[in-house]
């Protein structure tokens, strides 16, 4: 088939990465542990402990429809842009556009949690350690106060410490 020859190298790597990571994400979530998604996807509080997710989150998709859309995006976008710019420039662009939006999006969400103080959104369930997390929350609440901004940010972050 002719299309196999026409895909430039970096695009090929990305397509393989996309499929592998998406399948791995599903395998982690349903095979290992339903909370294991934080090893591949970006959960703002967890990402500090698994920093590679700022890159892998873009390529690990949740369902087959988004996998197909992402495949089409990378295929057509990569074919055109890699030929227009060259592999190095395309690689640099890709790094910028993968890492920075994830970083900014997680910052926006942390800020949003801090403002809205919506604990349901902020907490990451970690079943075995739940009493520990509750204890930390109470401690920081005591120290920093429930109603201060710093206190609410600390509450968000303390659940994983």
């Amino acid at each position: 088939m002719q299309w196999r020859i026409n895909i430039p190298p970096l695009t090929r790597v990305l397509l393989v990465l996309l499929v592998v990571l998406s399948v791995s994400y599903q395998a982690l979530r349903y095979g290992v542990d339903y909370t294991a998604g934080h090893y591949l996807a970006l959960i703002p509080q967890w990402a500090l402990f698994t920093p590679w997710v700022y890159f892998t989150a873009t390529y690990s998709e949740q369902n087959i429809l988004t996998v197909l859309i992402a495949c089409a995006t990378i295929l057509y976008g990569g074919k055109y842009l890699e030929r227009a710019w060259g592999s190095q420039e395309f690689g640099k662009f890709l790094l910028v556009v993968t890492l920075l939006p994830n970083v900014f999006a997680s910052l926006i969400y942390v800020f949003f949690f801090a403002i809205s103080q919506n604990d349901d959104l902020a907490y990451v369930p970690w079943p075995a350690e739940l009493p520990y997390a509750m204890g930390k929350k109470l401690l920081t609440q005591q120290q920093l106060g429930c109603h201060s901004r710093l206190g609410s940010i600390a509450r968000c972050l303390s659940c994983c410490l």
């Binding site: 989150a57 949740q62 859309i69 990378i74 420039e89 556009v97 900014f104 999006a105």
Partner: protein
């Protein structure tokens, strides 16, 4: 628990890059029912994601789309090193960022709201220049950017799947070669006609003339064929 995941930022970024490279390319969907120019793609994408985020609650896609769009535009406008397409020299003439006027922030939005957006964007830009975060674009930079944009428009780049059948499919080189082939054909025909005209006149005074003409005929047609193939 918010999970940020997915290639929405990538899609937004690619659309901005497409707009920079081929803004006037027309894409037809549904066999000619809908015709969209590539320069409108980013705004349609952002509008769709915004509406979906508000109505359907897909807020991560909304945030990622906007952030991807902003990151990509900032990088392409101010930081990316562009190869120089308008001149024949290679390598050293690389400029940083794309200062062309058509890639300004306000041109991403519909015509109606462009003036207020331009005013706000200029204000932010001047503020950033004042605190020395951005280096200001000189008139030279803007001119270079505009030249690059026209050079791209004349087809110095590979084309997409050619949905809209735009003229930008042919590159400069192919056009030049086509013209060269046509010119050679015309020249060949003229020589042939001149050769036929000269033979009856030359046959009477000298006997070597017809040989000379016959020899020159095949050789010119051979060389023309060699060039055309």
């Amino acid at each position: 628990m918010v999970v940020i995941q997915g290639s929405v930022a990538l899609q937004g970024a690619f659309l901005v890059a497409f707009k920079q490279l081929v803004p006037e390319h027309t894409v037809t969907v549904l066999k000619g029912a809908i015709k969209i120019r590539v320069k409108h793609f980013p705004s349609i994408f952002l509008a769709a994601n915004t509406i979906s985020g508000i109505v359907l609650g897909t807020d991560t896609a909304l945030v990622l789309a906007w952030v991807g769009f902003m990151t990509s535009w900032t990088y392409l406008r101010f930081y990316k090193i562009q190869p120089d397409l308008s001149t024949a020299s290679t390598g050293n003439n690389q400029l940083r960022g794309d200062a062309s006027e058509t890639f300004a922030f306000s041109y991403f939005w519909p015509d109606v709201i462009q003036p207020p957006v331009a005013a706000i964007a200029d204000g932010i830009y001047n503020a950033l220049v004042a605190i020395r975060v951005c280096t200001p674009f000189s008139a030279e930079d803007v001119e270079m950017g505009n030249e690059q944009a026209t050079a791209r428009g004349e087809g110095g780049l590979p084309n997409l799947l050619n949905h809209g059948g735009s003229k930008h499919g042919r590159s400069k080189q192919e056009e030049a070669e086509r013209r060269r082939a046509l010119a050679l054909k015309a020249l060949d025909q003229r020589l042939h006609a001149a050769g036929i005209n000269n033979r009856p006149q030359a046959a009477a005074p000298q006997s070597s003339e017809p040989n000379g003409n016959i020899d020159s005929g095949p050789s010119t047609s051979e060389s023309a064929d060699g060039n055309q193939s």
